[in-house]
Point group: C2
Chain length 345, copies 2
């Protein structure tokens, strides 16, 4: 099938989006793919598939490739002869800001482009960890207890140490610290505030197990991936996570019973239904004291969590043919007509 992979973005995860795109090029080798790069100045470039290497971007070689502009229905390239519009389904692969905060979703919606990825509301609820808590509290999905700190409000934390400090709106462990006691708090807060004005504090759950589950809806049904128990060091730092985004090898199923798998799936479904249609998401859970707790929703997981699915090409084909359709409302001028009439004009 034909697919447009949109990657890059003005985001701290710009580089891992490049890695994700390169990985998917290999995983979807039977697809005809247009690679559209969003530079951090928000210019779009059509990337020669044979140049899909990290150095193309770090050396700025993409700037010599054709520039594209958004237009109704797709990306437009001006040519000597006129213009060409690239119209295939877009896979939004921009991690972090732009891609996961609702900006790109809105842009694609506005220009009437079909896409795989979270819609605007879904993005808002998953991008900001505080809003993820609001969502989960409202729909009855348990999460880790939390407190919110803001840069311009002096406030003590009331949770017992050790705690984990995270910028509210960043993924990939950027700016995240584990704080063992009060002496480490200020440094951890300073680190997190470098990335966001709002910080979330959670208890660090000693002995919690971590499980990842991905899925997507096609033909009205959620299709789940296998459950993975990610290898755990204290937590992945950015460099390790960066390498992690290039994963393409299948992983082994976590060694857990069917009952737990079911519980994870039920929680996933509560989060997904009515909000994440059109996207493939990965939910990261903790199991602690026999409770299932949602840790994070990744609405555009690294390399689309391809390694959790048996046949990833089929996953993308199914998703692409089950995309939600945003009805566009036409103006009828009914009221203006009736009022003009009443006025005798």
């Amino acid at each position: 099938m034909k697919l447009t992979i949109l990657f890059g973005g003005a985001s701290f995860e710009h580089e891992i989006s490049i890695v994700s795109a390169i990985t998917l090029k290999e995983k979807l080798e039977n697809f005809t793919i247009d690679f559209v790069f969003c530079d951090s100045d928000h210019s779009f470039y059509l990337i020669d598939p044979t140049k899909m290497k990290a150095v193309t971007f770090s050396k700025g070689l993409h700037k010599k490739m054709p520039k594209l502009q958004m237009t109704q229905g797709g990306f437009e390239q001006k040519t000597l002869m006129g213009k060409k519009v690239y119209k295939s389904v877009v896979l939004n692969l921009i991690h972090g800001a732009d891609g996961e905060d609702g900006t790109i979703a809105s842009l694609l919606d506005f220009y009437g482009v079909k896409y795989i990825g979270p819609r605007t509301a879904a993005s808002v609820f998953s991008f900001d960890k505080v809003y993820t808590k609001y969502l989960c509290d409202a729909i009855g999905v348990q999460t880790v207890r939390y407190e919110v700190l803001k840069r311009d409000e002096q406030k003590d934390i009331s949770l017992a140490y050790p705690v984990i400090i995270k910028p509210a709106r960043l993924g990939s462990s950027i700016g995240v610290s584990i704080v063992k006691d009060a002496s480490e708090l200020d440094y951890a807060l300073d680190t997190a505030y470098e990335f966001d004005d709002t910080v979330i504090v959670e208890p660090f759950l000693e002995g919690a197990k971590e499980y990842n589950l991905a899925g997507y809806k096609a033909d009205g049904v959620i299709k789940f991936s296998i459950v993975e128990e990610p290898k755990k060091e204290e937590f992945l730092d950015f460099e390790k996570k960066y390498m992690d985004f290039s994963r393409s090898e299948h992983v082994l199923k976590a060694d857990i019973d069917e009952e737990l798998v079911k519980k994870l799936q039920i929680n996933f479904k509560k989060v997904y239904d009515g909000l994440f249609e059109g996207s493939l998401i990965r939910c990261d859970f903790f199991v602690h004291d026999d409770e299932v707790l949602l840790n994070e929703i990744n609405p555009i997981p690294g390399s689309m969590a391809n390694y959790l699915f048996e046949d990833f090409a089929q996953v993308i084909e199914e998703l692409a043919s089950s995309l939600p359709h945003k009805k566009r409302i036409n103006a009828t001028y009914e009221y203006i007509h009736s009022i003009s009439k009443a006025k005798g004009k």
Copy 2:
């Protein structure tokens, strides 16, 4: 000052956006305003100010005016000589879908345009009445009890009659019904489902008083309007509301004591802080059994609630000079560089 008023949109409230824009033209007569119309096919047009009349749009005369395109920093007009970019601060005056659902906010953010209006997350929380409940529950603002119904899920309502039925994502009373007993329910639901797949049901609060309060943040402080007690018929139907959007006369302060004013302001501030910066919103409250309940957040109120402010031109000037700045993140290619180096390439 210079200002761009963006109005229209692919929305059931397209026509009332036109009315709002015409009203603001009169209210801001000392401003130099570029009027940018977003047609329901998402084309942009630069409207001749002398043609800012409802019939210009209902007769399609705008299609003969210059077309504009979004570009970094503003709206671009192609001219015989090259191009001209309109760069002044945008006032997002598109009511309903597009304007209030986060689409236009994201578009303006992506293209680096400064604007007055709700940002993407603020839009999501105010546009969908269910998400407004999530927000209020999380931040401790009381609202009316509610149930959610979905088109494809058969479910009885458990609230006692009379109830009020509203499409989750529409303003201006479109699709809203008061249901006095079970015999009227199906018809009311059918009406609401014409506009949205999700419907919200609330008890109809007999004898509740309604109060509207608008405000905005400038220089770090929220500036409040007077409190209005809107004239109440059972509720405004769309045609009455339509006329209501052209209001420009000052209204009288509601006859309430300072303590209640303070309570309304405290609730307004809880909603606004950290979410609605950059916008002028109107919160509509009920007071029932001595409780203050938030009914609705209007992030782009009809004619910007100009009639609630003493000096509306000053309001817009203050807001325009206190807009939040979205930092754009530059790609550094730090990790790609270090990895390429490690590989010796």
